[in-house]
């Protein structure tokens, strides 16, 4: 047996292991999907549009970010660019994950990449930090990814149907903001990240009047540059402190 077949040979034990590892996160994923489902309907998408969006796009924060832009009639390229920017973290995840599965045909790589959400990637990399071939890797990844995909879609579709009967004044859309807060808090553990986030939030408010919601992109750029500057200044101080 060569190395490549070790990685891709179906391994039921590794699959079950992946499912078991991912299970505690599924409820949170479903709730987050529910919120996005409600938000899509509340923002004025029709039932087929909302179902199409959750099944085709499968990216919660990009979907949430696009809704006010769609409502405001922003140009398609602005919405597309916003989607790319909000999804940028996946570029990093994909760069980390892809080397593990280089041997697969392109359509499988496209498919696996498309369904790999944040939490699944983090859990997979905890188990297999090294891209070297190991038995059962693919089964383990699928055991994480497919239940994650299913619970997201179930929550999201439930939200789409529930959203129609929930009165607008309940402000359920605010749950989307709360979910983003939960994703954001662990990301600002370092000083540069915290500074970048505070500056980006501030700029987004100051630039909220810009046409086509371009304030969002401006906020991201200024926030990223701020974080880099804080990091470099911090590094310099650390270097000076050394004997």
């Amino acid at each position: 047996m060569n190395e490549a077949s070790d990685v891709v040979t179906p391994d039921p034990a590794a699959w079950r292991d992946g499912v078991r590892t991912g299970t505690p996160t599924l409820f949170g994923i479903g709730a987050w999907g529910l919120v996005v489902g409600v938000a899509m309907i509340k923002s004025g998408l029709t039932l087929p549009q909302a179902l199409g969006m959750t099944l085709l796009v499968f990216a919660g924060s990009a979907q949430l970010a696009s809704l006010p832009l769609i409502a405001a009639g922003a140009p398609i390229w602005v919405i597309f660019t916003t989607g790319l920017v909000v999804n940028l973290r996946f570029v990093i995840f994909s760069a980390l994950l892809a080397p593990h599965f280089r041997m697969l045909p392109w359509y499988q790589r496209l498919h696996l990449g498309f369904v790999s959400g944040d939490i699944s990637v983090a859990l997979f990399l905890q188990r297999y930090p090294d891209p070297a071939p190991a038995q059962g890797k693919l089964s383990y990844l699928k055991g994480l990814l497919y239940p994650n995909w299913a619970s997201w879609q179930i929550g999201s579709i439930a939200g789409i149907f529930l959203g129609n009967v929930v009165p607008a004044e309940w402000g359920l859309g605010f749950a989307g903001t709360l979910a983003i807060i939960c994703v954001l808090v662990p990301m600002v553990a370092s000083r540069p990240a915290l500074c970048g986030v505070l500056v980006a939030g501030g700029v987004s408010v100051l630039a909220a009047g810009l046409p086509y919601k371009l304030g969002l992109l401006a906020a991201v750029l200024v926030g990223m540059v701020t974080a880099m500057i804080v990091e470099e200044v911090g590094d310099k101080f650390a270097a000076k402190g050394r004997p």
Partner: protein, 109 residues
């Protein structure tokens, strides 16, 4: 937006998911990212999320006036505290919604 335009947006967003999530799976072995760009990219997601929620927390919905004393900002801050304490996303969403709803029903804002 017309129905057709919204469907074009949905397909465009699906493409943006494919580019970001599957890009490296497809062409990763042919690309090396410059170190500086790589370092910058690390901060992009958190900045983007902050920029999405900033206006919701700090601007009044209709007038777009800056406001520090509003139910969403207070509920947002309380939810950050709850999340730091409990580290549980679902609990935090429920807590934040209850907090926000209580402020709304009490007509404090």
């Amino acid at each position: 937006m017309s129905d057709l335009e919204i469907w074009i947006v949905i397909v465009a967003l699906a493409v943006s998911t494919a580019i970001t999530r599957s890009g490296f799976w497809l062409v990763g072995h042919r690309v090396t990212i410059p170190r500086r760009v790589n370092e910058m990219l690390r901060y992009a997601p958190s900045c983007a999320l902050a920029a999405i929620i900033g206006p919701d927390l700090l601007l009044a919905p209709e007038s777009l006036q800056f406001t520090l004393l509003n139910g969403k900002l207070l509920a947002g801050i309380a939810s950050v505290g709850w999340y730091l304490w409990r580290r549980n996303m679902l609990e935090t969403i429920v807590f934040g919604m209850l907090f926000f709803t209580a402020l709304r029903l009490l007509h404090l804002f």
